[in-house]
Symmetry: C2
């Protein structure tokens, strides 16, 4: 069956997919990809009906050869899927079609999904963030500056009391948000039930002392029923947040959790994403994943630092920021391949985390702007004078930006910053 129609102009209601592919014959490959992601089979079937072909067939409407690699042609293709193909508010089911078997087809020597365009009816079938940037700022009473977060370090191993104490030190030093690390769940040495109450006790103490709003982001990553049990405990303990490792948990759990009745701000950590976003041969871009998580309704999402220890170049990270923050996004045909209208879907707070310390703060804010959560783990707990000093130094680096001062100027006022700048060149 033929799905190629280079004269087709996608209509507003189509779901569009853009991918880079590699194969012997781009047309043949593009046609098989369109079939395998919709109604196709490797051979003609007697059970096919003409109205099915008419109503459900996707159209490959763009095929651009862009290079050659190991003797294979490399092409950029775009496919338009009629929404009728899908149960549109079932993200796992939709992805089983448009991002399912196609990666495993022998004929494909490379297949990487770069972007999706979700049409109005599709976007409106999803809740999106409950709080979004504005809601988080209101909750924390922080109008304009970037938010400062830390992750309790070491990643795992501290006992519950030690964990809560480190959180307290960070809060009173000036950190707004304290997060569990992605691999801390409910280990022997730091059980979830104890940790949440003890850490929130420290939050309240820090709020009293600082007069500032503070928040804790407990990691409820677990099998779904257990996730719900931990969320109920977090609710009982008075947490405004929960944190989920959204990739290792999976789309079914993330969509379903957002549709529960909880009123949490959902912080999304993306551990394991690079297993499918980093290869240039097979996989899906972080930009496409980030758009999916915005629809599913996380409130905060890690997108990279550009300057820290994690991969992700400036243009790509900025493009991801655009897609999760703005209401209307325009294609740049480099990282964003479609115009995307987000209608009433609230913006997701971008999070920069991974190898951050005070010296990097100005550059990160310059690149990603002030609507940003800057998280430093080592950059706080690695300060020569400890966590509280490290928090002060990071907070001072952020305030320097707000006050239009250089780090060096601010360091003259804040000794902890001065020491941090000497320590991390």
């Amino acid at each position: 069956m033929d799905y190629i129609n280079l004269n087709y102009r996608p209509n507003e209601g189509d779901l569009l997919s853009c991918m880079v592919i590699k194969g012997e014959n781009l047309e043949k490959l593009a046609n098989e990809i369109a079939g395998e992601s919709s109604i196709g089979t490797w051979t003609k079937v007697q059970t096919m009906k003409s109205d099915i072909y008419e109503k459900l067939r996707p159209k490959v409407y763009e095929i651009k050869e862009i290079g050659e690699e190991n003797g294979y042609k490399v092409g950029l293709i775009k496919i338009a899927y009629p929404l009728y193909d899908f149960e549109i508010n079932n993200m796992p089911g939709v992805l089983a079609g448009i991002a399912g078997n196609i990666f495993g087809m022998k004929i494909a020597k490379g297949l990487r999904i770069l972007d999706f365009r979700f049409p109005a009816e599709f976007v409106k079938a999803y809740k999106g963030p409950r709080f979004g940037i504005e809601g988080v700022r209101e909750t924390l009473k922080i109008k304009e500056r970037p938010l400062l977060g830390t992750i309790v370090k070491p990643k795992v191993g501290l006992k519950t009391e030690e964990h809560a104490k480190v959180a307290y030190e960070a809060w009173v030093g000036g950190v707004d948000l304290v997060k569990d690390d992605e691999n801390l769940t409910s280990q022997e040495f730091n059980k979830f039930e104890d940790r949440i109450y003890k850490t929130l006790e420290m939050r309240d103490k820090a709020e009293e002392e600082t007069g500032e709003r503070k928040a804790y982001m407990p990691n409820i990553t677990a099998p779904y029923r257990e996730m719900i049990r931990r969320a109920e405990i977090a609710e009982d303990a008075g947490s405004e947040y929960v944190m989920i490792d959204v990739v290792v948990c999976g789309f079914s759990a993330v969509q379903s959790f957002r549709e529960e009745d909880f009123k949490f701000i959902i912080h999304a950590h993306r551990a394991m994403h690079a297993a499918m976003t980093r290869s240039r041969d097979f996989g899906i871009s972080m930009l496409a994943l980030a758009k999916i998580y915005r629809l599913l309704g996380v409130d905060q999402l890690h997108i990279g630092t550009v300057v820290g220890k994690m991969e992700g170049g400036e243009k790509e990270v900025k493009a991801i920021r655009d897609e999760i923050v703005y209401d209307k996004v325009e294609a740049d045909n480099e990282n964003k391949f479609f115009n995307q209208d987000w209608f009433d879907i609230k913006p997701v707070f971008p999070v920069s985390s991974g190898g951050v310390h005070p010296r990097l703060v100005p550059k990160i804010v310059e690149i990603l702007g002030r609507d940003l959560i800057i998280q430093a783990g080592g950059g706080v707990h690695g300060h020569p004078d400890g966590t509280r000093a490290g928090a002060k130094a990071m907070r001072a680096a952020i305030e320097a930006i707000i006050e239009g001062k250089s780090l060096e100027e601010k360091a003259e006022e804040v000794a902890e910053l001065k020491k941090a700048l000497e320590y991390w060149k």
Copy 2:
């Protein structure tokens, strides 16, 4: 901090990971991977305690340089993690550590997890399959021969009645199992609630007519709460099976679903796996994923056909089969890098699906053996005389093996097989 200890001999209780890595300096990269997947930070932190380092640090106990690529060294490394690092019965949480941030580290120019060795205490923390091969054979009263499955085609688009009719035709032609395709969930044209009752009605009719046990595998892929709702409907309708797209649903949903009280045989489709299993640069092997799904407790899992339309060479597919079927598996240091004892975890029924037709059946069984579910979609519904004839042809191809006949000999007895062999050369 230093995690390299090439004299370390892993003890029985360690969780082991084997990966191929690419970087400028293999020792430095291996050390950072060990840290990032456990207790490490990019800089020394004041909050680290010596007992944490002693008790929780993983050991890089093997580093073998195996090549060079684009100026980077390529190495095979093995890491031993103390179980104490983990909440062992929380698979998403465990993976957030051992398969989380490490893929995104700038210093890693390539990182692909090849295999895990799960120790006794870890394996015993999981349920594994409820039925496994024996339980499925008992349910379907099929002692020895491979099971024959089909997928209703076209993948999506048929109305509910049409879908049920195709299933009936396949069953009476000789198919044992009829499956929804991975992208059929509850679309406008074929709602789950209708489909399940109508298709099971046809199952019962086919059972009566054939005197054989027949089964339907409805796709309950959805956000978790909706998955449970559909499972309850399937239970009410008398289905012995459910099918889940395990990769797009995710580890949290799959583990939690198995821990529910349902008594279903769980058929696991792996759509989207190749987004992270196929690249040689970044990702995780299908073998490692298959071991995880065996622990989580799926009863049937797609592993490839070797000869059909999906990628996956003979050695790799056989190695995956070994890992999901046998009680004790020995390393071959090609696809299996550890000896693995599965203790009481039942075997998973391997499924070969994708581009299968009668002519390929002998080769598939020769490679993968008789404890196998052979699924043909196009290979049944594409038969010139339709679904029932296609089912007869596939069933005859399987019976030829049991009877020790060649396809050609069997084709003399079964006209539908003869026609299929002429049609698909």
